[in-house]
Subunit: 415 residues, 2 copies
């Protein structure tokens, strides 16, 4: 065999060079080329179960789950069978398929606060529709958002102000997550013009230690909305269908008026949803929100299969158990190698931070690079995700590999 | 066999009743239940080629093409093979697949104004990103929009103001499509703060007679943007990949700075795109727009297959020829039966209006109901769509049926 030329590019390098010519910045948004950690691949071929394969053919035990959607693992056969069945019939049609009704019924059964459901494509579509429905119902304008929280990438909520006008944010007021006093102050600031309080399912701000919702804070948020008539919106886009099938705030005994869902809802098929209480139904019917692909049957068939499968398996309990085993293993390994790590957030959505790391210090990034070399795909700044495909054997194999990564990290520190 | 109970519901009626309980208004948006023409089915099972089948099992020759996406017909085997190939590998992954680069390269080759491409899920995502990129590039704010034009369903552009604040529209100014003088006046009104002029590919306002872009208007729009530094944005979401593969304004010899695409781009798989000129690349890389499913490989694989197949077949020429045959046949039938009809718009995207019809008069609606009964699915207020699956035999069969519909309409008029 002829050896490859010495300077030949890997498939990933070749794709990056080509992307740089025809795609702004090589890639934009949350997967932007500039934010791919050093040494990480940018392009992928496929995935199966808990494993993902990059464009170079390297396979990894994956703890990102496509940034959340793959709640039953890549290529789940039950979900794909449902999707392929609808594709064989036709996806986009002149109207919805029966899966629309089946899915709305299943969500209303599954989610205690929900009297109705409607569907979109992006998480941002869902959070934006919640705000629009809240304003249409209350005929008020102010929306309270936690400082640092992420609710999507539309002008009213995107984390960058580039290309956005100040008017796009005119009616936002801010509070601190899990701080009932700051929420009360923001409610007072809104005065008679309060339309909604939007809360993340838990605190998962990029690069920051994660926190569960505090029960007192959640109760106060509910009481303030009840007292003012504002809508309590829970943004369950990132956490929904992974922690509690009824909605993440079921864990603290507080029910939303409106919830936004996406990511895990259809195990990777593009779909988002809004669920709501009766009081908000009329406005939800009257506002004008739509999209060319919002009525397609395939993602809805996939969502029905995904939610049923999560019920059947008790998916959240499986993911919690696996996440706890992974977290405990990582903690023990870190301690044994002399590293102090903070594993915050729900077990199924962990974030690992090394003590002393900040934006410039990179122990976390170095560890993830070592883990990648050992065949484990982690993220050092964004919360990670587990799926039901992350069973005990996968976690054990992942921990064998992270042990090697910690060993290498400790060796690097000494040299 | 036991006969069905006398008052049993059809599947469509059953689905409507169930939908009314769990879906606001029974269905929202452009497919809202309240807007389904009388006698039309709301729910669908599937489609193949130029035919669609409703939930009751009735099959129709379809002139809506799922409201645009099905440019190669339902269940196109070339496109579905490409999509299924990627689904078998994995759709949503930790990063994009090579199809992202392949598709961006193909769009840059196909679309003369395009130096780069980026992708989203909804047409609204694409038009909104165009506006954001224009503002980020120019550091100006005003956006000129034609009165009555549809550019999506986000707060800045949705046709209903319910739940939207006046600030969401703060920087919009209006002109009349195909009226260069009114555009000049709007440019003057924007003064030093002009970011963009957005134009529909052609005038396709709901329920109104359609118009091609006037060459003098298009040239004036280009010149005004050149003179002021504003971005000329062509919204090709509805018409793109159906009339001219290089973009609809190639027909009038004017090139956009930014274009928005969706609908037909992937023959029904959910995808939208922005293409842009070099000057706008940096801002496109720097604004923050993203979505959980924006990097999925399946719709991109489908889009590559769709665009290649449209090139191979010369799809726009086929659809134009079929559309002209259909339009001529309808005109002749109408005249023979004593009706005056106006068939406006491009042949592949016709709108048929009966003389004297207004919002209350319903000859158009009655004709469409008769056509439906004869197995032809038309729309009386929204432009229709042809696909490459609408070949001469399909058009001939459709015209045999519309002849019967005109006969019935004429008989009804006499009684």
């Amino acid at each position: 065999m002829t050896p490859a030329p010495q300077h030949s590019l890997t498939p990933d390098q070749d794709l990056r060079q080509r992307a740089a010519r025809v795609i702004p910045g090589g890639l934009w948004g949350h997967q932007r080329a500039a934010a791919v950690p050093r040494g990480y691949p940018q392009f992928f071929k496929g995935g199966k179960g808990a494993r993902v394969t990059d464009a170079n053919g390297q396979s990894y035990i994956d703890f990102m789950c496509a940034w959340g959607p793959m709640v039953l693992g890549y290529g789940n056969e039950v979900v794909d069978r449902a999707a392929l069945g609808q594709i064989a019939m036709g996806d986009s049609l002149n109207g919805p398929t029966p899966h629309l009704v089946e899915l709305a019924e299943l969500m209303v059964e599954t989610i205690p606060h929900a009297d109705w459901a409607m569907f979109q494509k992006n998480g941002t579509d869902a959070t934006t529709a919640c705000v629009t429905i809240a304003r249409a119902t209350t005929q008020k304008r102010k929306v309270l958002v936690a400082r640092g929280a992420y609710h999507g990438a539309a002008p009213w909520c995107t984390p960058s102000l580039l290309g956005v006008t100040s008017e796009d944010r005119a009616h936002l007021l801010h509070y601190d997550y899990n701080d009932a006093e700051s929420l009360k102050a923001a409610v007072a600031e809104a005065g008679e013009d309060l339309a909604a309080v939007i809360v993340s399912a838990f605190k998962h701000d990029l690069g920051k230690v994660q926190s569960a919702p505090d029960r007192d804070f959640a109760t106060a948020a509910r009481a303030l909305c009840d007292a003012t008539g504002a809508a309590l919106i829970v943004d369950d886009v990132r956490a929904g269908f992974r922690l509690n099938l009824g909605g993440t705030w079921e864990e603290v005994g507080v029910r939303a008026d409106l919830s936004a869902w996406s990511k895990a809802i259809a195990n990777g098929y593009p779909l988002s949803a809004v669920t709501g209480a009766e009081r908000f139904r009329e406005a939800a019917a009257q506002i004008y929100v739509t999209g060319s692909f919002w009525y397609g049957g395939t993602p809805m068939a996939a969502a029905v299969a995904t939610i049923r499968e999560l019920h059947r398996l008790n998916g959240p309990a499986l993911m919690k158990a696996s996440g706890e085993a992974f977290r405990q293993g990582l903690s023990e390994q870190a301690a044994r190698h002399g590293f102090e790590v903070d594993l915050s957030g729900p077990a199924a959505m962990p974030l690992m931070k090394f003590a002393g790391d900040d934006e410039l210090s990179t122990l976390g990034e170095q560890f993830c690079q070592q883990a990648l070399a050992e065949g484990v795909y982690l993220h050092h700044r964004h919360n990670m995700f587990l799926s039901t495909a992350h069973d005990a054997a996968v976690i054990a194999e992942a921990l064998e590999r992270t042990e090697k990564a910690f060993t290498a990290l400790a060796q690097n520190r000494r040299t």
